[in-house]
Each structure stands twice: as C-alpha cells, then as structure tokens.
C-alpha cells in the first residue's frame, strides 16, 4: 500500500509542474499590455515604465517564469489589477463558500443517486423504474446553467418557495437550489452506475456462492452485493469533482453565490488577469490532489487495483 501511494505521489510532480507552466504562459500571451489595464486611463510613459519594472515585466521571459515559481512557493498569487488586494486573500475568503456549495451538492448527488439507482434496480420493470432511468439519462444531458434558471423560474418566480439568488449568510434556504442544480448531472450518473453495479454484482458467481452457503439475504446484500456495486460510485465522485468545480462557475453566476466561481467570472469581465490566473491554478491543483486521493481510496477499497498500480 505504501509503495502504491508513493508511486502516485511521484506522478504528481510532473503534472503539477505542467499545470503551473501552462497557467503562466496562458496569461503571458494576453493580447495587449497588462500594465495599460492596470494603470487605467491616467498614465504617462514614465509611470508605465516604473510599473513594468516593479512587476518585473521588463525582464526576459525565463526570468519572469522563475520569479513566478518563486512567488508561488511562498503562496503569493499576485494582486488584483482592480482592487489591489492579494489574490490569495480573496481565494481564502471565497473558497469556503464554494466548498460549502460543492460538498452539499456532492452529498445530495451520492444520496439521491444511490437511492434512485437501487430503486430502479429493484423495480426495474414497473412504473417507477423506467421513468427514473429516463430521467437519469436526461440528467447528464441537461446544461447546468439552464437547469438552474428553470429551477429559479419554478421555485422562486412561480411557487415563491425559495429565494432566487444570494448567499443569505449560508442559510439552508439559499443553499437548496444551487446545490440541487450543481448535483443533478452527477446524481444522474451515479444512479446509472449504481444500477449497472447492482445488476452486475447481483448476478455474480460470488453472490450465488454466498447464497448457496446459506448466508442470510441481508448479509449477502450488505457484504457482497453492496460493496462491489458501490466501487464505481467512488470513481464517479472523484472524476466528477472537476465538473463540480467547473459547474460551480456557472451555478454561482446564476445564483449570485459569492464563491470562487463567480469571482472568476467577474474577473474575466474586468480582464483582471492575476485573479483569473490565480483562481484557475488553485482549482486545477485542487482537482489534481483530489484525483490523487480518489486513486488512493480506490486502492483501499479494491486490493486488486493496489497490486496493479504498484
């Protein structure tokens, strides 16, 4: 197990390095002079020159890149062109709200998805099972931003049950709609995977053996079917983490949720490059680390993978 984990950790190094390099060069190719947008309307050549020197933009590309790496090592993501505030501070302030939204959505997706998947396996031929599966198919095809708007229309404008947007100090009423929106596609995928898992595990030889040796049905279900059927669900939660991050950009924009996703969109509108660069880098690194954790947890659940990976 230790070797498996060490292997995965080693793989992380070149990937993180690549991610950092790509985000650096991405913002370097920005058309136009970043100093111009920084200085705003009132400027003269001398101030611009001074700012360029201050930001190190007059140095060769390679030196700038090294400086960038050096600043990153101190968790310095630069300052916002617009507010002058350190980007890392803003991320620290906003990320917990995105985390709240994403983790609620994830919880909802797993609970709802596993439940729907099991329900549609047990009642696969009747009036409940089929519509559930149809819904789960549609679920992965609905654009998250449109779903959000439709939910706002239904629950806020028509039924007046829930607020259409805002954070409300993190109260549950404000959390429901965005969390449901963000969870939907993942919930649908989990439902499909759970169903497939139960069908496959339920007909496996090891289940027949367990029944044949006289185990109680509840024990067969809990120890043999359930565990095997849910392995793919763990993968989905992991691979979908990226879609939670991307989805949070759209969901937060629609629901006026003051998290990291909305911060990025606002920065794009104002062409606030250090903010875009820093936030995207933060999310990508988070994504890489979470994928690593999922890989490792996968190895914990399924010893076969551990051996293959080492």
């Amino acid at each position: 197990m230790l070797r498996f984990m060490a292997n995965r950790l080693l793989l992380l190094v070149p990937i993180l390095f690549g991610v950092v390099t790509i985000t650096f060069f991405l913002m370097y190719v920005v058309p136009g002079d970043p100093v111009l947008s920084l200085a705003g309307e009132r400027y003269d050549e001398e101030t611009l020159e001074g700012m360029r020197r201050e930001l190190g933009l007059d140095r060769p590309l390679f030196i700038q890149y090294l400086n960038y790496l050096g600043r990153l090592a101190r968790f310095d993501l630069g300052r916002s062109f617009v507010t002058g505030r350190p980007v890392s501070e803003s991320i620290a302030e906003r990320f917990p709200r995105t985390l709240l939204l994403a983790s609620s959505a994830m919880l909802l997706a797993v609970a709802g998805g596993v439940f729907a998947g099991m329900l549609s396996t047990w009642r696969r031929y009747d009036r409940l099972g089929r519509p559930l599966m149809a819904l789960s198919l549609a679920g992965v095809s609905i654009p998250v931003f449109w779903l959000g708007l439709m939910l706002i229309y239904l629950f806020s404008i028509k039924l007046r049950l829930l607020p259409p947007s805002g954070f409300g100090g993190g109260s549950l009423r404000y959390l429901v709609l965005p969390a449901l929106t963000l969870s939907f596609a993942s919930m649908a995928t989990i439902a499909r995977v759970t169903r497939a898992g139960f069908m496959e595990a339920g007909s496996g030889d090891f289940v027949r053996t367990a029944r044949a040796k006289g185990l109680a049905e509840s024990s067969v279900m809990a120890k043999h079917v359930f565990r095997n059927a849910l392995i793919p669900v763990v993968t989905i939660v992991g691979t979908d983490f990226g879609s939670y991050l991307s989805g949070s950009v759209l969901t937060e924009t629609i629901f006026g949720w003051p998290g990291l996703g909305r911060y990025i969109v606002q920065a794009i509108m104002k062409r606030d490059f250090p903010v875009i660069q820093g936030s995207i880098l933060f999310m990508a690194v988070l994504f890489v680390v979470v994928n690593l954790l999922v890989d490792v947890s996968y190895g914990l659940i399924d010893p076969r993978i551990r051996q293959r990976g080492a």
Partner: protein
C-alpha cells in the same frame, strides 16, 4: 468488411437507444440546416408590435424581444452550435490520431512525452481550462473551434495509443513488417482501421459534451460573439425576461438538451454495439471529451 457492416446495421437496428438517438439527431440536424435555407416569410424581421408574444399556433415557441419567431431563431442558433461541435470534434480526432499513433508506435520517448502531456491536459477540469483560455484569447468562431478541438485531444490520443499498442504485436502486423511494409503503410492500412469503432464511439460521445461546452462558454459571454445567435447566448439573453417571457429561456435550453441527449443515446448505443468490453471503465465514458 462488407459482412461487418451488415452485422453492424442489424445490431444497430436492434439497439433502441441508438435508433432513438439517431432519429432525434437527424431531425434536429435537418431542421437546423433548413432554417437558413427556406424563405422565412418575414418571421425573422424585427417587428416590435409582435414582441414577446407567448407560444401560439402561429409562433410555436413564441416571439423574442424584437418580435422575431423564436422557433426560427432557435433553429438558426443551432447552426453555430452544431458546426462548432462537429468541427471541434474533428480537430480532436485528427490530433488524437496523430499523437496517439506517435505515442503507441513511435517508441518509448515519444510515448512518455505524449502521455505526460495528456496527463497534464487531464489535470485541468475541462470547462475551467476552456474558460481560462477563452478569457485571454481573441474571441471568435475560429478561436472557439481551435480551443475546443485542441482541449479534447487527450482522451482521443489515449484510446488510439491503447489500440495501437494492442494491435502492434499481432501476427498480421508482424508479417507486414517482415514483408517490408513501411511505417506509414503499417499504421494506415493495418493499425488504424482496427481503431475505427473505438473512434466512432468516442467521437459521438464527445460531440454532446463539446456542444454543451460551447453553450456554456457562450452563456458566459466567452464563446460565440454577438450578433451571431447561439443557444448559450439565447439562454443568457432570456434571463432579463424570466418573469415576463420565460419561453425565451425555456426553448433554446430544451432544444439544446434534446440534441445533447440524442448524441448521448447514440453514443451509448454505439458503444454497446461496437465493443462493450472496451469501455468497461467509467472514466473512459465520462472523459470522452
């Protein structure tokens, strides 16, 4: 080869999801292409007397803020969304074939370089990477094609590489090598045709995701620029009228969902028909883009 095709068609007919997906897709594509060709009878002209009319027999989807028929506008918006999808996917396909073959066939060093690049591409949440690139790029259709196409290369390349590695050691390939066939001929004649079914499936599944990504970008104002219509932009434009004219948001999204859904159905069906075992890992399915 002919027998394979026959077998494929008969299996395709028996797959309900593939047939349903293809049928809906064909209808959408025909309707979208016709929308630009047939005379509109003044339905696309600005007429403020007719603005924001709810759905009716004359205007099944209602009218937009300028009094234009929304059904016609939605179908015209589809031209860009579908074109972007197909062009971007084709770029991904070509890049994937080139780099995947290079990795699988070109020796150890090429393999490790290409695969590390793929790992790095996968390290970004796809839509987030797209947002970042589009935020700094000069907006426009060509940028959109290129960026969506390039970002999708990695999934394609991984699959091609896996296939190339699997086929490379087969006896008939070895025999062709022994007979003195050049590298190009071996790849083009003996290896790539074996990857065909995999590529078709991945192309189709990724198509839905690409169209969805284009809409998301356009929704955020990062994709197709005004005045060109696209589904994502129509939906974001409808937000201001959510209370008074919800159909402006409803219908573009409905048609978008239907299109993506038909592609997903078709992709799922094709996967089951062509090779169910090839895609046993859930990651491959989801990472089709």
């Amino acid at each position: 080869m002919k027998a394979d095709l026959k077998e494929f068609i008969s299996r395709f007919r028996r797959s309900r999801s593939a047939c349903a997906g293809l049928a809906v897709l064909v209808i959408v594509v025909i309707a979208v292409s016709l929308s630009g060709m047939i005379p509109s009878g003044g339905r696309d002209e600005i007429d403020l007397d007719r603005s924001l009319e709810p759905p009716s027999a004359a205007h099944p989807f209602g009218t937009d803020a300028f009094g234009r028929d929304l059904l016609l506008m939605v179908l015209r918006g589809g031209r860009i969304s579908l074109t972007v999808g197909f062009v971007a996917r084709t770029i991904s396909l070509l890049l994937g074939i080139a780099l995947g073959t290079l990795a699988g066939y070109g020796g150890r060093r090429a393999d490790s370089i290409v695969m590390r690049l793929a790992d790095i591409t996968f390290a970004f949440p796809t839509l987030l990477l797209l947002i970042a690139i589009m935020a700094v790029a000069t907006p426009g259709l060509v940028t959109l094609f290129t960026v969506l196409g390039v970002v999708g290369w990695a999934a394609m390349a991984r699959l091609v590489r896996a296939q190339v590695l699997a086929v490379r050691e087969r006896e008939y390939v070895q025999a062709a090598m022994a007979a003195g066939a050049g590298h190009f001929k071996i790849v083009a004649v003996y290896i790539l045709p074996q990857c065909l079914s995999t590529l078709i499936v991945v192309y189709t599944i990724g198509l839905g995701m690409t169209i969805m990504a284009e809409s998301s970008l356009s929704f955020l104002g990062l994709g197709v620029q005004p005045p060109a219509p696209s589904w994502g932009r129509m939906i974001s434009g409808g937000i201001a009228f959510m209370r008074t004219a919800p159909w402006l948001t409803l219908f573009p999204g409905l048609v978008l969902t239907l299109t993506v859904c038909s592609l997903n159905l078709l992709g799922d069906g094709l996967r089951d028909i062509l090779d169910p075992k090839m895609f046993s890992g859930a990651k491959t399915i989801r990472g089709g883009f």
